[in-house]
Amino acid sequence: MSNALDTPLGRPRWQRSWWYHAKYYAQTWRGSVASTVLFPIFYLSALGVGVGHLVSAHTGLVQGQTYLHFIAPSLLATTAMQLGEGESLWPVLAAVKWIRSYHAAAATPLEPEDILVGKLAWVVTRAFVTGIVYTVVIGAFGALQSWWCLTLPFIGGLIALAFSAPLVAFAARAQSDGSFTTIYRFGFVPMFLFSATFYPVSAYPGYLRPLVQFVPLYHGVALARAAAFGEGSWGAIALHLTFLVVMAIAGVVWGRRTMRRRLVD
């Protein structure tokens, strides 16, 4: 009954949780891969080329860009957000309540923090890889104008983390998924539409413009645009980055508490 022959590999515990999430995805990924590649192509064709045709006839360039180029980076940002949400609400509630796979993991050497960090690391990994695919597609539509575009996958990872961390924390303390639909309907859908995703902030009346600063996705969209076009002031970029990093950190701190309470109390 000795474990001497096992020769453990000495992997950090959070990495074992990351690996588990990745392996699970690898077993059930088939549907999502096609959509990862096809969705941006459809989207950019319909909105960028189709709607863009109308926009250019009506207003000409948007902030010095064709409409297609203008919305392409925001596509990467909104997708990263959606990926962060999609991985975090229902799957986490299932893992702590319905299937209870996190409870099973908590009975192994893993601590709640290991499970949390492994989960978030996996979300970042997925967003990063998706970010690479999107960067290539956006590039193929000619929307990349700077070497800074190489940071796009990292920006995607950060956006996904900024949304995923607080949502995982929230889902880990939920008793039912009743509130999740509300979050989607009144949180994410408006955010997707109104974060200067499809038009510049200047389209809002002056008194509304400062409010956009408080919409998390706006910062992601602005960062993605800055990277794609190699423009924007360092001050603004620092603000966008700070906003997302603070969200991520707050989410991790909160998540550590909710996961602990749910799994080991």
Binding site: M1, R16, Y20, Y24, A104
Partner: protein, 309 residues
């Protein structure tokens, strides 16, 4: 070999806010022993199990598992335990084999070792033919066996089972019991909670009886029965509700009487003798059954309630 207990608890308390689920329990479990926690739902068994699985921390009291303190050595202790929770917590979308191999990675066991061990465990739990099936398609008994196989993936020194056979049909239960005997023979220490007295009698060398968060008795099943009950029990049914009146008439015939909603239990040494005496006295129940005393009777005698309501 040391003779110190593999697990030792002293005055363990677990509270959740105002609710105290476990109110100062003490016990010691020896290596290789099969130890049970018997009690009705809500007795504090699951909270106790979560503490001795080094998952939740005691609110107060001391606990030593494998000679280590779970407060400071949680991951190390859990690496040497196997836990079979009340619900199966399996990945329903994945195959039987993957459930084992993926779980094994939590213990940082190398892939080749896991592959080999998963095959052995599937053999042991008689699931080899279902290795590549989705877990969702397994029967309840098979899922239970897979959960046990999963708990054994790290070759644990202690296997902790919370209500292992709840919801299983008799055949599935016996198959599971038989596997647990085999593990015990191989030297694994078993810790089992159950609210089935026959399960506790079958599986446990020694057990504690819990009620309302406290231990009300502890010892080997036979000894508990000898100490808290008579050798035999006569179960009488009268097809009437006026048990109180009957109780008075029956009192002279038994050492102790328990009145349940549907029957009256007479605690005696020789049931057949008692039946003859009742007959001679003109007491004619609609049905009468003589059986040996069980842990159920111990629980009834200690708490005045039955285990399964």
């Amino acid at each position: 070999m040391t003779t110190s207990p593999i697990l030792e608890a002293h005055e363990l308390v677990k509270s959740f806010g105002d609710l105290t689920a476990v109110k100062g329990v003490s016990f010691a479990i020896e290596r290789g022993e099969s130890f049970g926690f018997l009690g009705p739902n809500g007795a504090g068994k699951t909270s106790t199990m979560r503490m001795i699985s080094a998952v939740s921390q005691p609110s107060s009291g001391s606990l030593s598992i494998l000679g280590l303190d779970p407060r400071t050595h949680g991951p190390e202790i859990r690496g040497r335990l196997g836990v079979v929770p009340q619900e199966d917590t399996l990945e329903l979308e994945l195959s039987v084999r993957l459930n084992l191999e993926m779980f094994g990675r939590y213990f940082d066991i190398p892939r080749e070792v896991l592959r080999e061990r998963a095959s052995e465990l599937l053999e042991f739990t008689q699931l080899s033919e279902r290795a590549n099936d989705k877990v969702d398609n397994l029967s309840g008994g098979m899922k239970r066996r897979l959960t046990i196989a999963r708990a054994l993936i790290n070759r644990p020194e202690i296997l902790i089972l919370d209500e292992p056979t709840t919801g299983l049909d008799p055949q599935a239960r016996h198959l599971l019991w038989e596997r647990l005997y085999r593990l015990k023979r191989e030297g694994v220490t078993l810790i089992i909670t159950t609210h089935y007295m026959d399960e506790a009698e079958q599986l446990c060398d020694r057990l504690v009886v819990m009620d309302h968060g406290s231990i009300v008795a502890q010892g080997p099943p036979r000894e508990l029965i000898a100490r808290h009950s008579t050798r035999e029990v006569v179960e009488l049914r009268f097809g009437t509700d006026s048990h109180d009146e009957l109780r008075d008439r029956l009192t002279p015939f038994a050492q102790r009487i328990e009145t349940l909603p549907d029957r009256i239990l007479l605690y005696v040494d020789e049931g057949d003798d008692t039946l003859r005496e009742l007959h001679a006295a003109g007491i004619t129940p609609t049905s009468a059954l003589v059986r040996r005393s069980s842990l159920e009777d111990v629980f009834l005698s200690l708490t005045g309630r039955t285990l399964v309501d």
